[in-house]
Symmetry: C2
Subunit: 346 residues, 2 copies
DNA sequence: TTGTAGGCGTTATCAG
DNA sequence: CTGATAACGCCTACAA
């Protein structure tokens, strides 16, 4: 008995297209996946049927049969601000050039959520993953190894981690910036760090400040160190606390630009002159940093290079090609007006 | 002949779990999807096997067999700045509460790319879609209707469009803001609009300015109207052009906060006092607007309500429940310091 | 160049 | 409560 004609409002399948074009399903499949193997005449009539029916292949069935999904995943801590957006965009663009689509998830800086999302993305067919930073449950790493899902760690570079990564040295970048601050005569420094317990980048940046102090003859234990989530309001509050001290710092380093933006706003609210009374620095060089006034000096992170490089690395890995492990990129200091000489210089 | 033991490094399947637990695949499937239908004893041994093997279900196979993907999609114009991030986050959170995962794509404000992405997301199993604005190729709409994919249009509300939407009236919101500007004595107004040809929100906002002028006894044709992509540098350039006129405006309205941020920076660069010499307004109320100094007065868009509402609407639609069509939310003016009385007030 | 047919990993409908 | 078994939509040798 011949198949019934497709119901008026049913989603068309390969079968429907084949029937309408008067060919086999194999031919339709080839038209879509390897057009050069099909005669122009057949191809035209098949494509006409495809368009008439509004056919689109079923992803699940395709992945199941072909054993490949052409899908990678990325998990970033947040999409609320621009910190990772630029790199993600570059990642996506490069993947697109290789015919790979992207699945995104955001973990809200919560390791437990990230662990769930790693499993969810893999279950959803992500053949490779972009991850931010090294800090995560060993079980997550074990899971990825067992499933043989290639992954690349970005936004950080820890020599000898043994994991594929493409990033920059957060410690060194922050040490460089701190060195410049000290060179301007600042002696009383404060750092509003990100949450270090769950964030290796935040930890590394704090380490960088201490290293630079030690290297420049200052006592790292004199650092006024406080911690805040990566939000402007938290940065503002922390800045207020720090400046309320009996002997306030002359320079406040911030764990990232978002915290620094909050600090700067708070400085304005307190009637402080920046950088006359106090200097403020950021980290990441998101667009915001150049729009504030005074502009935020910061560390320009190689957003796009990391995204693009991560994509290439994963594509190579998935094709069995060896990919460069532990690629280190450089982060450059960007000077802007909210960093000036110490008011009570040497 | 019994099946061979699974290869050391193969991805475990239901079959493998079943074999290891000594039950059928049906039972394993039930343990995962309807645990209450399985005896506690069996369940325990099955779950032990699941964990031992690191099993995770294959999404494609599951979607194929169950005919549902539990996946929705969203296509936004950009992820580079925060304009849509907040709403997207709320959308995702609400979907998560319903057990639905989210597929995101960004179209770079390009309608042609958006059309491709609509097809790609549907092919990838998106059972419903969130879209921004009404402007798009009729073919895209036809495709969605034919495939019976529910969609909701956000960020805009055009009465009588006949499409399911949840948003606010861009025209009215901009008219309200313009009315306030005029009430402060401004008579020479400029508008740096977004790209109107492909963006109904940009068009509506420009219309709103004209309406408010007419309603307040000004001639809309006196509006100094220019257009710029939604980027700070483009906003800065446009602002420079506008202020270089023989008779510059006393207030520059901007199509969104990103343009306005560029305009504000350019004003500083030109040594203009804001709002003493010229007032500047934005639109969207992204975080940035409150961090700049002077702060940007803007229209606070109901980001989270739109995201959450869109999620609920789509979940309802997918469950065959009727969903409110054309929901209108309100957008509120947020006052900040870069809007002041006209310098040459009446 | 085209068609045939087997199988991918799950779910769901039946019996037992 | 559990086990066979037939789909699900597509890809891909293999044959013709």
């Amino acid at each position: 008995m011949p198949d019934a004609p497709p119901h008026e409002n049913a989603i068309p399948t390969l079968q429907d297209v084949a029937r309408r074009a008067g060919v086999s399903t194999a031919t339709v499949s080839r038209c879509l996946n390897a057009p050069q193997q099909v005669s122009a005449k057949t191809r035209d009539s098949v494509m006409a049927a495809v368009n008439a029916l509004g056919y689109a292949p079923n992803f699940g069935a395709r992945a199941l049969a072909a054993k490949r999904t052409n899908t990678f995943g990325a998990i970033v801590p947040t999409m609320r601000n621009a910190i990772f957006a630029e790199g993600l965009q570059a990642f996506q663009e490069e993947l697109g050039a290789h015919g790979v689509t992207l699945l995104v998830a955001s973990s809200s800086y919560r390791p437990d959520l990230e662990a769930d999302q790693i499993r969810a993305l893999v279950a959803r067919g992500a053949a490779a993953l972009l991850l931010i930073g090294h800090d995560r449950d060993p079980e997550s790493y074990a899971f990825l190894e067992k499933r043989q899902v290639p992954y690349v760690i970005t936004w950080a570079h820890n020599k000898g981690s043994g994991k594929t990564s493409i990033g920059f040295d957060n410690t060194r970048a922050m040490a460089d910036l701190t060195g410049e601050v000290i060179a301007l005569g600042h002696r009383r420094l404060a750092l509003i760090a990100g949450e270090r317990s769950t964030n290796d980048r935040a930890r590394d940046r704090a380490t960088g400040v201490a290293q630079a102090m030690a290297a420049n003859g200052l006592d790292p234990s004199d650092l006024i160190l406080t911690e805040a989530p990566y939000r402007p309001d938290a940065g503002a509050a922390a800045f207020g606390d720090v400046m309320a001290r009996l002997v306030p710092p002359t320079a406040v380093l911030c764990g990232n630009d978002v915290i620094a933006a909050g600090a700067l706003r708070q400085a304005h609210a307190m009637g402080l002159d920046v950088p006359g009374d106090v200097s403020i620095t950021g980290f990441d060089n998101i667009e915001l940093a150049g729009l504030l006034s005074p502009g935020l000096p910061t560390v320009a992170v190689p957003h796009r290079d990391m995204g693009r490089g991560a994509a290439r690395t994963l594509v190579d890995l998935c094709n069995g090609r060896p990919a460069g492990r532990e690629i280190e990129l450089t982060a450059q200091i960007t000077w802007r007006a909210s960093l000036g000489p110490a008011p009570d210089g040497p």
